[in-house]
């Protein structure tokens, strides 16, 4: 009896990041390769036009991040934002912004931060709408990407993949719809928060 299947390691995305970073921070050597499979053109241009120094807070350099896949301190996110943003987007299915819990506001039923602060309902509602808007924008962007991939799969006759993409699109559309409904019918922050068991 075989012991089992070799399984994929969690580090895979880290490797993608490390590789992308490598392509960004390595100075171009000799003639450029003719074909790049997935050109991180925007990132490269950005990084080359504005070379980034070390993180002012911890001294971490991008080259170190390339080697380890780990940043040095929270401030690194600010110091390397222009390089990190596209990498993070790629690692997180096209997401660019956090839409969940925040330290002083907690989580809620539909995940809109701010709605869970029982003692500050009025002040929080503006934040909710902002969060909802950001979330919808996120989903909209993701839908665009998926629909493009769907069109490509259909024209490439990859029907199994197309079917999966279509399911994912339906799922996201329902999710957005559900969020809209939740937001509209939300009885108020305090009541809302206890619902999810």
């Amino acid at each position: 009896m075989k012991a089992g299947l070799p399984v994929q390691s969690q580090t895979q995305i880290s490797q993608i990041i490390a590789q992308s970073i490598a392509s960004i921070v390595k100075p171009p050597e000799g003639p450029k390769e003719a074909v790049e499979p997935e050109p991180p053109a925007a990132d490269v241009a950005e990084a080359e036009s504005k070379p980034l120094g070390a993180c002012p807070s911890c001294g971490m350099e991008l080259a170190q991040f390339r080697n380890t896949g780990l940043l040095g301190c929270p401030e690194c996110y600010r110091a390397f934002e222009s390089v990190l943003a596209p990498l993070i987007e790629r690692a997180h299915e096209g997401s660019t912004h956090h839409t969940g819990k925040s330290p002083r506001m907690g989580t809620t039923v539909c995940g809109v931060a701010g709605a869970s602060v029982a003692s500050g309902g009025a002040g929080a509602s503006g934040g909710n709408e902002k969060m909802l808007k950001a979330f919808r924008a996120e989903r909209g962007k993701r839908l665009e990407v998926l629909k493009r991939q769907l069109a490509e799969s259909v024209s490439g006759e990859q029907y199994e993949k197309a079917a999966r993409l279509r399911d994912e699109i339906t799922r996201i559309e329902r999710e957005v719809q559900a969020m809209d409904t939740t937001a509209l019918s939300s009885p108020g922050p305090a009541e809302n928060a206890g619902e999810q068991a």
């Binding site: 994929q8 330290p103 003692s119 996120e138």
Partner: protein, 397 residues
Amino acid sequence: MSDVGSVFTSRQVANGASWLSAAAGDSDVVVSSRVRLARNLVGHPFPKKASRAQKQQVMELIRARVQRLARVAPGDEAAAPASKGALAWIDVHETTQADRMLMVERHVISKEHAQGDSPRAVAISFPDERVSIMVNEEDQIRLQVMCAGLQLGAAFEQADLLDSLLGGLRPAGHAAGSTGGAGGGAPVPDDTDDYLRYAFSPRFGYLTACPTNVGTGMRVSVMLHLPALRLTGEIEKVRRATKDMNMAVRGYYGEGSEAAGDFFQISNQTTLGKPERILLHEFESEILPHVVEYERKARAFMVTKRRKQTEDAVFRALGTLRYARRLTPEEALPLFSQVRLGILAGLIDDVQVNTVNQLVLLTQPQHLQRLLGKELDQDKRREARADLVREWLKPKA
């Protein structure tokens, strides 16, 4: 090798782990559920980049807050819901190698956390070991809640609440001295001043050492037992499908390990862009049920359409476990898997699922040595493993 000065008593070790209890929902397929949150503090470098002194400083800040929680925890369900015991603080770098390996085998710390001698700690909820908070792992805080069977919602609620309490929120209606339940409402800002200031950006969320954890910092995972899907050769489909949904598939022993004995861990890869509860909902309601149903159908198929082959395989496995005089872990785990399948498919009726679950834990090297109270070389461990299994699976006269 005695209990004196050890993290665990022999009784705790012999009792197995609560997250392997087979009483919970869907535990025929879902062995355990886990929710993990990654957090760091503002103004302090991540552990890999931090000096010894900086790590010590971070550890003291976290220790103070955790111990404050621990003081209110006993008997206070609001502060530590579903976790009856207090959080015990353990300086991992000061524990013995044996204790560290025991903690790794019990899944309360990671392999990485067991290595090295720089300041690091873990806070564990005893006696259930449901909660563990690793300090100075890849991130300064790795808070996990682990439950038996499919209980992701419960695991999340507890992790979320503990995280809120550490980070400056307290349960609504939970004034000082009150014992009001946490279910009554959402947390409100804490009025004390020693809460942990988490590193957080409005754009990227909770900031983590590795950008793959940024955002919610939340990793949701389940350990699945999928023997029938492997036997029918359909496990590849599951792997491909989960991969397409951006899930990671790993083995019993976590990152980089083989899916030995048909035990698989599935977890989310994406941590940014979706609110925690949506992420959880997708995982629990839209991905898992398909896999669970798929395995159940495959089991039904094995029992009806391939009954003799299945019986032959599971009883051979049981026979080997009942009569072997030496067992390696590599041999034992797939046999446990077969026997577990045999019990759940109704073919074996004189062994409990729980017995097999706990044997998977107790036959690991450090557990064996602690149970016998002495260090054993590899050869002796093989004999001890077979002895223990024989004893536990002895046919009833």
